[in-house]
């Protein structure tokens, strides 16, 4: 089947609104949020149902062209970039919440539902969908599943994989299976667990049953400012030792504070080197005592300013600063590269020292916004990509951060995925035998490598 036949056949099946083939329009699909590698697709399709996805997979297999799934393209590792061309399946028109089943703590959705909109949808029921990536206002559930996305609240509530109960997937042989529906497993391999975080290489998710979580009765948030990063990280350790796992522990450094301060007029003192956000939740009883205890811990570690946020409005403002920190970076530099890496938590202070050394070495500002409770750091390298010299230094800085992280027992992605961006780091983390075991799984699902080729495995 040649390319014009494929195009015609897809149009016949999906209708004219279901296929994009205008070269100018295709260019907008040549990358996701990771701009380092780009490649335009041959076609983009926008199916509305599982049946339409099945039809696309069948045709793609016949034509021998690869298929790359895509949500809203907010990914940061090139996972949705069609590096070998082919058909991009956009989930933009598969964006319905199908069923809310509070008795069984679950919701059935199509993959194109926006993360934040799902939690808003669930609020009147007294529930939320716990994983809350910083991009939650624009990223899709399908993309979250592909990358096993995290977010500030996964310290207590876990990442996406802990909230996926079952998936409807179209496999590369165009068969469709449901891997679960929320009934606890009772034998067989955990296909749901394998598919989550597999970056679209094992199957195309067309529907999902997700776990929903009862909203807590009470929430307390503390924003504490420290004259140094060390005070903030020491506070994190002591708070965890209190015997109650906080819902979130987030740190922003001076540069990040400056960016959000400018944008949101928060009036945070510019002498602060670190801002720590601590959130605890549960039943009302005892929570204010715990809040006092946490304030005491912050002060013992030299906090210069501690602001408890008791009302939902105050809490929303604190979180807005954190969640929009990446967006605020645009005020500091024309481009930035966000590095995603995780180290054992006690290695964070060392990593922070190294990141600031790297910033000096390559003469590029690096802001830090990170999930301190998880050991998940996000150095944000600020540069101008139009300047080849800066571009080169930024890449070298990324490489050095990852190398040091691996040497500290870290991993190369906590929540953004490997995609194309980190292919070359996989052999630094895994032996050829480790990778061979993963590839056995890949071939068991997709023996012809039709789905998202050129990702994860170098």
């Amino acid at each position: 089947m040649d390319s014009s036949q494929l195009n015609a056949e897809l149009r016949r099946m999906l209708g004219p609104r279901g296929v994009i083939d205008d070269p100018d329009a295709l260019i907008t699909y040549d990358a996701d949020g990771c701009m380092m590698d780009t490649h335009a697709p041959q076609l983009v399709v926008l199916p509305t149902s599982t049946e339409e996805v099945v039809a696309v997979i069948k045709l793609a297999a016949q034509a021998g062209v690869p298929v790359v799934p895509r949500g809203t393209g907010t990914g940061l590792s090139g996972g949705a970039t069609p590096m070998q061309g082919g058909i991009v399946i956009s989930t933009a028109r598969m964006n319905r919440v199908l069923e809310v089943d509070t008795r069984n703590n679950r919701v059935q959705v199509q993959p194109g539902v926006i993360n934040f909109e799902l939690s808003q949808y669930l609020k009147p029921y007294g529930y939320h969908y716990a994983p809350d990536p910083s991009s939650q206002k624009s990223c899709t559930i399908g993309g979250n599943i592909a990358n096993n996305s995290g977010g500030p609240h996964c310290l207590k509530y876990g990442t996406t994989t802990n909230h996926v109960l079952g998936l409807e997937v179209v496999l590369s042989d165009s068969s469709v299976i449901w891997t679960g529906d929320g009934t606890p497993a009772n034998g067989g391999y955990d296909l749901t667990g394998l598919l989550t975080g597999s970056e679209g290489t094992l199957g195309i998710v067309t529907q999902a049953w997700l776990r929903i979580t009862r909203l807590p009765e009470a929430v307390r948030v503390v924003l504490a400012l420290f004259p140094d990063i060390a005070g903030a990280t020491a506070t994190v350790s002591d708070v965890i030792a209190c015997g109650l796992l906080p819902a979130a522990l987030e740190i922003m450094d001076r540069l990040a504070i400056k960016a959000v301060n400018d944008m949101y007029k928060l009036g945070l003192p510019d002498t602060a080197e670190a801002a720590l956000i601590i959130e605890v939740d549960g039943v009302e009883d005892g929570l204010d005592d715990l809040l006092q205890e946490i304030v005491g811990i912050c002060e013992r570690h030299g906090a210069i300013n501690v602001r408890p946020a008791r009302t939902p409005e105050e809490q929303t403002q604190v979180w807005a600063a954190r969640k929009n920190a990446f967006g605020a970076m645009g005020r500091l530099a024309p481009t930035y590269h966000l590095v995603d890496t995780v180290v054992p938590r006690t290695r964070l202070p060392y990593m922070m020292e190294q990141v600031s050394r790297i910033a000096r070495k390559y003469d590029l500002p690096i802001a830090n916004v990170f999930h301190a409770g998880d050991g998940n750091l996000h150095p944000i390298i600020l540069f101008d990509r139009r300047d080849p010299d800066q571009n080169e230094r930024a890449h070298a800085a990324v490489d050095e951060v990852l190398q040091i992280s691996i040497a500290q027992g870290g991993v190369i992605s906590g929540e953004h995925g490997i995609g194309v961006e980190k292919l070359n780091y996989m052999p630094l983390l895994f032996s050829p035998d480790d990778l061979a075991a993963m590839q056995r799984v890949q071939r068991s699902f997709d023996p012809v490598t039709l789905l998202n080729p050129g990702k994860i495995f170098p």
């Binding site: 802990n162 529906d181 955990d190 667990g193 989550t196 109650l244």
Partner: protein, 453 residues
């Protein structure tokens, strides 16, 4: 395959002291009536890898063995030459308490692990039965749960890294000692619950949970399952955060053996048919007090006949007994242990089915259910251990399986299990599962015939 040659080669690796060759000694490691020719206990991951390399070359069928508390699971092995024990792999690989993670070898028992963690105010809140004998590797292979899964999640939520020895002896790993990770596929999910059919788990890393400052359990007795479920439904609908909601039920002829297992909970079981709901809370002292107040009130509103609060030693003793109730290490003559899973909202009718069918066949039934999670362990007991008992247990299983497809037999006499579908209805995606099994163990050497694939 020459057993003599294999035994010489294995002895050269582990030493004679760690190899059993005498049939009388090996009989203690029989799996559902199938006795191995050899039993080997390697002293390190490297030794275990060498053992597997040699076993693979010799074509030996292998059963991995931890504490031996769950060898009744699955079908009997189709072949069994060599039992590979993990008990000497019991070292802590990495534990920096401030990281709130740990990496340990798979042969450590759950109790030994939690003793180490307790010194630093941590815990691995996986309350699988028989923690003094059950090894980490064993509970990972079965993905066994415990009552506190409601509050802290299961092994699936806590496992962050894994190291395995494949059928060929090749050692591979996945994950890491960090709590968030999308670096490659989540192979932890694959090995967890795969019953040693893909590889032998030799070490694992976990996210830990800080130990709570306070704990207490509210124990409630109900005369009918309906009233017990009024409380359970109220707890589901509310914003309290109990770490477990465990339903205990006993019907049929009074089971003395069951009562002795229950210890101080037995007081909740006065009468021919009764239903207990145990609701533990852990956390800040004020939060625990709030749970005691509110759960007591909800239980009384639901019509509880008795409500009692257990604290300190009474609380600890109660849970030490309750977590063991689904154990499968020893079963009575005429007993069948089954796990039923369903959507949490379907638990009440599913348990009604189980009880009705048990009554029809004259079987006593002890139920231990994680009531808000949709998991129930059922101990069916015939009053004899003869052919009539076998027929009754088999009839129960067949009738129940028709109504409730997610039904797994965990333990029973070989004669009872014969001909029954041990893993219940076939799962979706079985073709992929078979391809995975074939890719990892093409010659079918690991736990042959025991698992669903």
């Amino acid at each position: 395959m020459s057993v003599t040659t294999l035994s010489h080669e294995l002895a050269a690796i582990v030493g004679n002291h760690h190899l059993l060759t005498d049939p009388a000694d090996c009989a203690a490691y029989a799996v559902q009536g199938v006795t191995p020719a050899l039993v080997v206990t390697p002293g390190s991951i490297e030794e275990l890898s060498q053992v597997m390399t040699i076993a693979h070359a010799a074509g030996a069928a292998v059963v991995p063995w931890g504490g031996g508390t769950q060898q009744s699971w699955g079908y009997p092995p189709a072949r069994l030459d060599l039992v590979v024990r993990t008990t000497r792999l019991n070292r802590v690989s990495t534990y920096k308490p401030d990281d709130v993670t740990i990496a340990v070898e798979a042969g450590i028992t759950l109790a030994a692990l939690n003793t180490i963690l307790g010194r630093h105010g941590h815990m691995l809140p996986v309350d699988a039965p028989l923690p003094r004998s059950a090894t980490l590797g064993g509970v990972l292979a079965t993905a066994m749960d415990g009552p506190r899964r409601l509050g802290y999640g299961t092994l699936r939520d806590l496992l962050i890294g894994i190291q395995v020895v494949e059928a060929t002896g090749r050692v591979t790993k996945a994950g890491g000692l960090v709590v968030k990770n999308v670096s490659g596929y989540d192979m932890m999910k694959l090995y967890l619950g795969s019953l040693g059919s893909l590889a032998i788990i030799v070490s694992a890393g976990f996210k830990l949970i800080p130990r709570a400052q306070a704990a207490a359990t509210i124990g409630c007795r109900f005369a009918t399952p309906d009233s017990a479920f009024v409380l359970i439904d109220a707890l589901h609908a509310g914003q309290l955060t109990p770490i477990a909601v465990e339903l205990l039920a006993q019907t049929g002829s009074t089971n003395q053996r069951g009562n002795s297992r229950l210890g101080n909970v037995a007081a909740l079981f006065a009468g021919p048919a009764c239903y207990g709901v145990l609701v533990p809370a852990e956390g800040l002292p004020a939060a625990v007090q709030r749970h005691v107040r509110d759960v007591t009130r909800l239980a009384e509103q639901a019509g509880a006949e008795a409500v009692q609060t257990f604290t300190d030693d009474a609380h600890a003793d109660l849970w030490a007994r309750v977590v063991d109730l689904p154990q499968t290490a020893t079963i009575a003559p005429g007993e069948l242990v089954v796990r039923l899973t369903c959507l949490p909202g379907d638990l009440a009718p599913a348990l009604r089915d189980a009880g009705d069918i048990a009554a029809q066949h004259g079987l006593a039934l002890l139920t231990v259910a994680r009531a808000l999670s949709g998991v129930a362990y059922l101990r069916l007991q015939a009053d004899t251990a003869d052919d009539r008992a076998t027929a009754a247990l088999q009839a129960w299983h067949q009738a129940m399986l028709r109504r409730r497809p997610h039904l797994t037999i965990l333990a029973g006499a070989p004669t009872t299990k014969a001909g029954l579908s041990v893993w219940g209805a076939a799962p979706a995606g079985q073709a992929i599962m078979q391809r995975i099994k074939h890719a990892f163990d093409p010659e079918g050497r690991l736990n042959p015939g025991r698992f669903i694939v």
